[in-house]
Amino acid sequence: MNINRPCGTFDRNYFQAKELYRTPLRKTLLTLFIVGMYALPLLTGDYGISILTLICAFTIGMLGLQIITGYCGQISIGHAAFMGIGMYTVGILQRHFGISFWVCLPLAGLVPMFIGMVFGLPALRMKGLYLAFATLAAHFVIVYVISNWRSVTNGTDGMWMKRPEVLLGIDFKNDRNYYFLVLTITIIMTYLATNLARTKLGRSFVAVRDNDIAAEVMGINIAYTKVMAFGIGCFFAGIAGALGGAYYEYVNVEWFGLDDSIWYLGFLVVGGFGSIFGAIAGATVWKVMDEFSTLVTPITESFLGGAAFYASAAFSLIFYSLIIIVFLVFEPRGIAHRWEMIKRSYRLHPFPY
């Protein structure tokens, strides 16, 4: 099943066949990677921690989009809006009901999940392009409701959020502790997404993506599968939104414009479709680019004088979109595919194939 294995690795029983990481080398590397992620804050300062936290939060959101678009093939141009619903769910519950963050967090996933399923209903009758329209409309409807339902959402002024309370003696007001929390949740969600791809539901996602009629002939309930893909993807988006919003301790409707939804889709392409690694790579590239463009802003300022306010906005738009377009034209399968090719050429080293 898995062709990217060193030769001589055979499955002798079902437990071996079911293992996520089969060889000792990969297990060691994975463990080292996770330990390294936990150890990184020791090396980087507060600035590095803020980038890492955002990368983790956006990785969760990207995994959600990977499930909707990469696995199930349904195009969503409203993913950032569902992330926003997650943020606002936590914000509203804390503000109006004073509920603890730990209760809000699962709700921040479930509310977008439900709303996403409702907006995903047009997907039952059609595919591809039409769903893009539905989610585009969903984006505008959601942003409209949030910015105008002032009594609940405080309109365009945004609202304050609280970080989680002290748990087991860990104070999450500290950025480093909060990063550990986000990282832990990211690892759990990544594990869930990886395993989802191997379940019956995940396999039927892929079948629907490849050809929905063929999938229906094979006895897959397409309607259920598509709506579930949407629901699960939006669940991930909501969790990502809740974690990201709580990091800033503030939510604003400006944070999930149409641009962000498009960047989500675009950097998913840059990362690579249909693989968990692609989602992680996409989110990482996106957030590193973000930091890069903030770093470049002072330089453009010195070039353009007082005009830098608009120039930096234009620069990030042009720069990102060019990167995504160039990737699509020259490497449509993204970083994940390139990585697989590097691994394969390493494994087969003296021979070309």
Binding site: G128, F133, A137, N148, L265, I325, P332
Partner: protein, 295 residues
Amino acid sequence: MEEIIKSVVLGICSGGIYALLAVSYVVIYKSTRVFPFSQAAVLIIGAYLMWFCLMVWHLPIWVGFLITCAGGAILGMVVERAFMRPLVGQPILAPIVVTLCLMLLLRGIGILMGQGNIQGFGESFLPLGAWKMGFLHVPQIQVYGFILCAALIIALMLFYAKTGAGLGMRVVHEDHVVAQNLGINVKRIFQYSWVISCVIAVVAGMLLGNIQGVGLGLDANGLIAIAAVLFGGLESFTGAIIAGLAIGILQMLTILFIAPLLPGETTMMAPFVFLLLILFIKPYGLFGLVRIERL
């Protein structure tokens, strides 16, 4: 009743531009099977080009019009050749992402052109004032805009009906492989449709910039026109025109009935709620083709 009639007349006037925009989407979608989200941002480019011609370079209106149209044509040609042609034959997602990113790319260029400000044409290039017919006050700027839109659409229809290139384009609308077998250069046709569509969008951008002021907010009109395209059916020019007018009327009726009840930009909202309703009730629109797939 008078109010409703007024809204309908005004809606038809402002719907002309939506019809034009919807046609610009349909031109590309019909021939290339790619939905060009980027046309929403071509509006911005068109409006700023016209603004440069009139306010910065102080050219006469007709020269500005020609320069802007030429700019739109070049833009369409470059976009098709550089970004869309390498993606022919890729899965549906790739061109969609590229057109979406193009939308933001053109928006960024728009920010650079206009330095982030909303500009005006100073003096409108279409006559201001209104005609009075009984209780109706019809602003001339809207009527002339409508006439220009109608003229462009008629010219496009004549191009399709009468010329050889138009015939080729109609063949490509039917089937790419058949067209290729008949000796039609399909790539050339793709380029034609991008050029035509961009010129149309640029003209619509000029008209909208004249009415609403030249700024980045113009692309909202382009996104609203997507609702019109879907209502009319993705493959139908007739549908696009009817639905464009319908969206115009819908917006005016929204101002009349819904805006007093709800806060915020209800005119921006109503077309998208309408779009969702269409998707639930009649997903292929009024005149859209219902494709039957086989394995």
